[in-house]
Structures are given as structure tokens and as C-alpha cells.
């Protein structure tokens, strides 16, 4: 589904990302881990054509991301709260995204109904604008909005951060269900090794912009990751 070739991003003299080759097959649930400044958000921003690659390119379902816009209809994402429109209520925001993705009100309502538990009664019907919701609730709205319109590729940056324990558990289930669908590719980044090993079939570790580990998730994966990050403490990471 996604092919990354010779991709690099350089700011001034600092190389923040350098990936020679990375293939993500259709339907895989892909986890990205790494310390601060490892290049996770840079990679996701490149996937969404929000920044320009210094060299190389990304191909998303046969569309080269930085030259054509045709990847947009089947790709959706939630990177941070700048993806929310603060002066809309959550409902209006969902319907707006629905509009963009060719879903009418009824379609969106049907989708939202599935996430009643996840919302925990704090999102819908609150008569509040998104800008007035708490960080955690904003995140819930943003994550669910990225599921609207049957996307084939879903990109979530740090989806577990800022969420309460109950919601984290529910979100894990939601991502698992999503990944279980054969044709949906899910990309998740996280600082939380436990969550990411539970949810993803494959985990890639980034360090200083380079892929240092690429593992199929198994019972030993969590241990392996903990050992890896435990030994990395001597390195000073520059943000």
C-alpha cells in the first residue's frame, strides 16, 4: 500500500529523517516508536504532504504523494489539535468532514453511533465548541473524525497521549477492530510501548531519523523494545 524510497528530510545541517526503503503492505497495522525527535511526526507529515521531502518520495496506493493530490480521498489522519476547527461543535465538525468525504448526515450519524462508548457522553450534544473542550476530548473527536468516509489508510500520531485510562483501553479495541478489516492500513505512533505492541502487527523503531528496528510483533517484542530503549539512555536527543 505504502512504499517509501530514499526518503530524507534535512533542516539546515541536521538530518531529521533518512529512510532508504520501507514497505507497508495493505491491511497491516503499523506501529512507529521512537524517542522525542526521532522523526515520527516528520515521517507522518511527509506522508500527508505537509512538508516537502529533501530527497526521495512516498507512494501511497500508486499515487506519489508530493506530486499528485489523489491520495487524499482514501487517506485520513489525526496528527494534533491543529486538525480541529475550534469554532465548530463536534457534530458540525463531523458533518463537515463527512461532506468532504462524500458522506451525508445519516452516514455520519451511523458511524458516530458506533463510538458512543468511546465518547463517554462527553462529545455529542454538549453545546460546546471544540475549542472549549478539554485536550482529551478534543483528541477523541479528532480520532473519530479520521474514521469518517471509509478511509483505506488511517494515520494517527500519538493517539494514546492525553487520554484517560478507560478511553485508552477502548481506543486499543477500536484500532484493533479497524486493523482487522482486510483492506484498511493503520499507522500509529506512540511513546507507550505496551499499547503499541498490543495494537500493531509490526513495529518500526526510529532513532535520529533512521530505522533501527523492524519487527513482527510477538510475545517477546515488548521485552525487546524495553531492552532497546533502556540501553539508549546515554544518547542525548536533540529536539
Amino acid at each position: 500500500m505504502i512504499t517509501i524510497e530514499n526518503l530524507s528530510k534535512i533542516y539546515g545541517a541536521q538530518q531529521v529523517l533518512n529512510i532508504e526503503n520501507l514497505e507497508i503492505p495493505t491491511g497491516q497495522s503499523f506501529g512507529l516508536v521512537g524517542n522525542n525527535g526521532a522523526g515520527k511526526t516528520t515521517l507522518f507529515s511527509l506522508l500527508l504532504d505537509l512538508i516537502q521531502p529533501t530527497t526521495g518520495h512516498i507512494i501511497n496506493n500508486e499515487v506519489q504523494v508530493n506530486t499528485s493530490e489523489n491520495w487524499k480521498p482514501f487517506t485520513s489522519s489525526f496528527i494534533d489539535e491543529t486538525f480541529l476547527i475550534g469554532y465548530l461543535t463536534p457534530e458540525e465538525y463531523f458533518y463537515f468532514i463527512g461532506d468532504l468525504r462524500g458522506q451525508n448526515k445519516a452516514d455520519v450519524d451511523a458511524l458516530l453511533a458506533q463510538y458512543q462508548d468511546f465518547f463517554h457522553g462527553e462529545i455529542l450534544g454538549q453545546k460546546k465548541y471544540l475549542r472549549d473542550l478539554s485536550k482529551g476530548n478534543q483528541k477523541k473527536a479528532g480520532i473519530v473524525a479520521s474514521f469518517i468516509g471509509n478511509p483505506k489508510v488511517v494515520i494517527l500520531d500519538e493517539p494514546f497521549a492525553n487520554l484517560d485510562p478507560t478511553t485508552q483501553i477502548r481506543l486499543k479495541q477500536i484500532i484493533k477492530d479497524l486493523a482487522a478489516q482486510q483492506d484498511v492500513t493503520v499507522l500509529v505512533s506512540s511513546h507507550d510501548l505496551i499499547h503499541v505492541t498490543e495494537v500493531c502487527e509490526r513495529i518500526v523503531v526510529l532513532s535520529k531519523g533512521e530505522v533501527v528496528k523492524d519487527i513482527e510483533t510477538s510475545a517477546e517484542t515488548l521485552k525487546e523494545l524495553e531492552v532497546f530503549f533502556g540501553s539508549e539512555k546515554t544518547e542525548v536527543v536533540v529536539e
Binding site: 500527508l48 505537509l50 487524499k72 485520513s76 458540525e92 460546546k128
Partner: protein, 489 residues
């Protein structure tokens, strides 16, 4: 403690991240500020002679007293828009061993030193100096100034108490209009009623105690109120308004563009800065009166073209110059969502088009000043539609500065850069030059005709032009995304 608070204030200004970046803008703003203060001072100094000439048989002091009630109401009205309550920055002090009473005194003390309080003084003091030179008694005049300071401070503290209450604003506005109406039509003379009240401040120096006592009382009420409200969940909490949902179903008729149009309308209505922008635009309908009612301008046709471009295009320039920065806080979402750039721009075009048509309709009453006025405004509206819309959209692609939507537009230069000054050149100056050339060589009819034809040509080429602009926006996309992410304080 006061000293420490003030030094922190100082640092927060000089260390703010956008100080260096927009120093140029600060200088321009500072220049305008000084210019305004100077104009006020000159006006204050000249007011004595002006009043003497207009009302030769009454003392200028009496005339000033007559209008003072309007001054107070106007100031209350304007302060609603302009004055900010300086409370948000004290959050970090809540957990430090600083007494709440000290914090409250500091907030109130600081608001007394606000620039808005100086404005009146810059007018009053030169006026008083001229009075002294003309043989008015020194003691009376000096105490009169003290009395005025008392009134200004009272206004300041009343405004803090009112705290941006819409109802009060509407109330003050209606009293202002109603009072002036009563005066104008001679039903009841508010002026004559209040003149002795304010004149007393000058005539009987002892009365100076009244405004001072009032200011002190207001300070005390504020202090009492504030001291009990310095909690995170009370005064310091940013107000969250209850959302009013409306689905604006009629926008669906515009097809694909409908959802963007709906988004823009919601943006305009639900954010302070854009909403004020609309009100300001509507007020500018009256701008033409300045020129049309004065004899000096009656033969200066280019001035009328300027007014025409300005009135029909005020929303175009106010709103248009910051496209797409209005969407800056969620621009990366817009760019990764399923949105074709062209549709996005087209919706902005239709919004501005509607505004121009609406503003033109509102200016139709100028036909009272002759058919020329209507013709000029019509030509200008066409020019705005056909030429200025593409021009302003094109310049918009150079915008890279973030705008926080929920801040007041007054004196707010957020999002402004050299682009905003540059864009005024083609939008305002070029049509006036074109108009003047054809007007002076040929005639009014030809000049209006040329503006209209240019507009129609632009309109006919709309699709082609929009295509070019779309390409430009695509090229500038990455710079915009990066720029909009930088939060300016």
C-alpha cells in the same frame, strides 16, 4: 511587589517571540499612535478657537460642557471594543506567596495607566492650556483637569465592571443615538440639561470632589469584586460561550462549495475578530458622507472614486487580505483533507462577491447626492468584483502569519506583514489613477465606463485567473503550513 510585577510585564513585552520579527510593524503602529496623540493634542489646542468661531456668543468652556455627556457615552461605547481586561497573565502568581489583595491592586492600578485613559488627557490638557492663556482663572482650570481625570478613571473602572456585556453596549449605543436624536430634532435638549452639570466642575472647584469620589468608589467596588474572584474557575477562566448550532441548510444549494461557504460563515459569526470586521465594514457605508456632504470635495471626482472603491470593497480588503490566514489554526488539516484547492478558493470568491454586491446595495442611497454618485459606486463595485478579487487572492498566497481568531481586531496586527501594505497599492490606488486619467482627459462617463469594462473583463476571465491563483497557492503551500504553525504571542 509592584516593581517586580512591572518588571515582569516589561520582560514579557521585550522577550515575546514576535518582537524582533515584526519590529517593522511595531514601528509603523508606534508611528500611528504618536500621530494620533499629536492630532488629539493639536485638536485640543485648536478647539478653543474653533468653538469660539462656531458659537461666538458662548464660552468654549460651556460648549465643551454641553457635549461632555456625549464624550462619556462615546468613550464607554468604544472602550467595549478596545480595552482588554488585564487579568489573564496573573495565573502563575496564584500559587506564589503573593497576597490576593496585592494582585487585585496591581491589576486595577495597571488599568489606570492604560493608554485609553491618556487619550482624553491629550485632548483636555492642551485645551486647558489655551484656556489659561486666555485669562481663565488658574485654580478653576487646574481643578477642572483633575475633575476630568476623575471622570476618565471612573469610565475606566465602570468599563471593567461591565466586563464586555453585550446588553450594556446596546444600551449605551441606544442612549447615544436616542439622546442625539432628541437634541437634533429639538424634542428635549440633553445638551442643555447636562451642560450645567459638567460646567459646575469648572465654575465651582469644590465639586471636583464628586468625580474623584466616584472614581475611588468604583475602584473600591472593583477591588472588592476582583479580590474574591481571583480563582481559576471564576474571573481567570476564559469564558466559554454556549454553542448555538445552525445547519445553514440553504448553503447546500451551492453544491460542493456549500460546505466551505457554511464553514466561512460560521467562522465569521463565531469569532470575535471576524465578527467585528463585519460590523466595521457595515459602518463604512457612512464613510462617503464625509466627502459627499462637504463643498470642498464636490468637484474632486477622484476622491469619489476612492470612496466608491473603499465602500464597496471594504470587506474585500479587510477580509480578503488575510486569506487564507483566517484558516491558519487548522490549515494543515485543510491541506491533508479531501479538499481541492480550487474549490476552497472559489468559496472565498463567492463570499467576497456577495459582500461587494451587498455593500453596493447599501450605498444606493447616495443617489441622493446625484446620479453621478450611483454611477461611480456601480463602476467601482464592478471593478472590485472583476479585478480586485483576483488581485487580493493572489496576494493572499504570500500570507504566512498565523491569526488567532478570538482576539479583538482593534490595534491587532496579528497576521499582518509587508504584504498587507503592498496589497493596498493595486487594490486602492490603481483604480483611482485609472479613473483620474480618464476623467481628466475625457469625462466622468468614460472614466466610470473604463472601470466597469475592466471589471467585466476580469469577471469574464475569472476561471482562467482562478486557475493561475490555484497553482500559486499550491506552490506556496509548504511555506504557509510551516508559517501558520508558528504561534505568535
Amino acid at each position: 511587589m509592584f516593581k517586580r510585577f512591572s518588571s515582569l510585564q516589561w520582560k514579557s513585552f521585550f522577550r515575546s517571540s514576535n518582537l524582533g520579527k515584526s519590529l517593522g510593524i511595531k514601528i509603523v503602529m508606534g508611528f500611528f499612535g504618536v500621530y494620533m496623540l499629536l492630532s488629539l493634542a493639536v485638536a485640543g489646542g485648536g478647539m478653543y478657537f474653533l468653538l469660539k468661531e462656531i458659537f461666538p456668543d458662548q464660552s468654549p468652556m460651556w460648549t465643551i460642557s454641553q457635549y461632555f455627556i456625549y464624550w462619556i457615552l462615546m468613550e464607554l461605547f468604544l472602550r467595549y471594543f478596545m480595552q482588554k481586561l488585564p487579568v489573564m497573565d496573573i495565573k502563575p502568581f496564584l500559587t506564589t506567596p503573593v497576597k490576593k489583595s496585592t494582585i487585585a491592586h496591581y491589576i486595577l492600578g495597571r488599568s489606570a495607566a492604560s493608554i485609553y485613559n491618556l487619550l482624553t488627557l491629550f485632548f483636555i490638557v492642551p485645551f486647558a492650556i489655551v484656556l489659561l492663556f486666555n485669562g481663565y482663572p488658574v485654580l478653576n482650570v487646574l481643578l477642572w483637569i483633575v475633575g476630568i481625570i476623575g471622570i476618565v478613571l471612573s469610565i475606566n473602572y465602570v468599563n471593567l465592571l461591565v466586563n464586555k456585556n453585550d446588553k450594556v453596549l446596546i444600551g449605551i449605543g441606544s442612549i447615544l443615538v436616542l439622546g442625539y436624536g432628541l437634541d437634533y430634532f429639538g424634542v428635549f435638549s440633553i445638551k442643555e440639561f447636562f451642560a450645567p452639570v459638567f460646567h459646575a466642575l469648572y465654575a465651582y472647584p469644590i465639586t471636583v470632589l464628586i468625580p474623584i469620589a466616584f472614581a475611588v468608589a468604583m475602584y473600591y467596588v472593583n477591588y472588592k469584586y476582583l479580590k474574591n474572584k481571583i480563582y481559576l474557575d471564576a474571573k481567570l477562566k476564559a469564558k466559554s460561550v454556549q454553542a448555538n448550532t445552525s445547519d445553514l441548510a440553504w448553503t447546500k444549494r451551492f453544491g460542493e462549495m456549500g460546505s466551505f461557504l457554511q464553514l466561512d460563515l460560521k467562522m465569521i459569526w463565531r469569532n470575535k475578530r471576524t465578527k467585528s470586521q463585519v460590523y466595521i465594514s457595515l459602518l463604512f457605508v457612512f464613510y462617503g458622507l464625509v466627502f459627499y456632504t462637504q463643498e470642498i470635495y464636490s468637484s474632486m471626482m477622484p476622491m469619489k472614486a476612492f470612496v466608491g472603491i473603499f465602500m464597496t470593497g471594504i470587506f474585500l480588503s479587510n477580509f480578503g487580505q488575510f486569506i487564507p490566514a483566517w484558516d491558519s489554526s487548522y490549515y494543515s488539516m485543510m491541506m491533508s483533507q479531501n479538499i481541492p484547492m480550487r474549490k476552497y478558493l472559489e468559496s472565498k470568491v463567492s463570499l467576497i462577491t456577495v459582500s461587494i454586491v451587498a455593500m453596493f446595495l447599501l450605498t444606493i442611497p447616495y443617489v441622493y447626492f446625484g446620479w453621478d454618485a450611483l454611477a461611480i459606486n456601480f463602476g467601482c463595485a464592478l471593478y472590485n468584483l472583476g479585478v480586485n478579487i483576483p488581485v487580493i487572492l493572489y496576494f493572499g498566497s504570500f500570507n504566512k502569519k498565523r491569526i488567532e481568531l478570538d482576539q479583538s481586531p482593534f490595534g491587532n496586527m496579528q497576521g499582518a506583514s509587508a504584504t498587507q501594505f503592498l496589497v493596498m497599492l493595486p487594490v486602492l490606488i490603481v483604480p483611482i489613477i485609472i479613473f483620474s486619467i480618464f476623467y481628466y482627459i475625457f469625462s466622468l462617463e468614460v472614466a466610470v465606463g473604463v472601470l466597469s469594462v475592466l471589471g467585466i473583463i476580469g469577471f469574464a476571465m475569472k476561471n482562467h485567473l482562478l486557475g493561475l491563483i490555484t497553482e500559486q497557492y499550491k506552490k506556496k503551500k509548504y511555506g504557509m503550513i510551516a508559517g501558520f504553525k508558528e504561534k505568535a504571542s
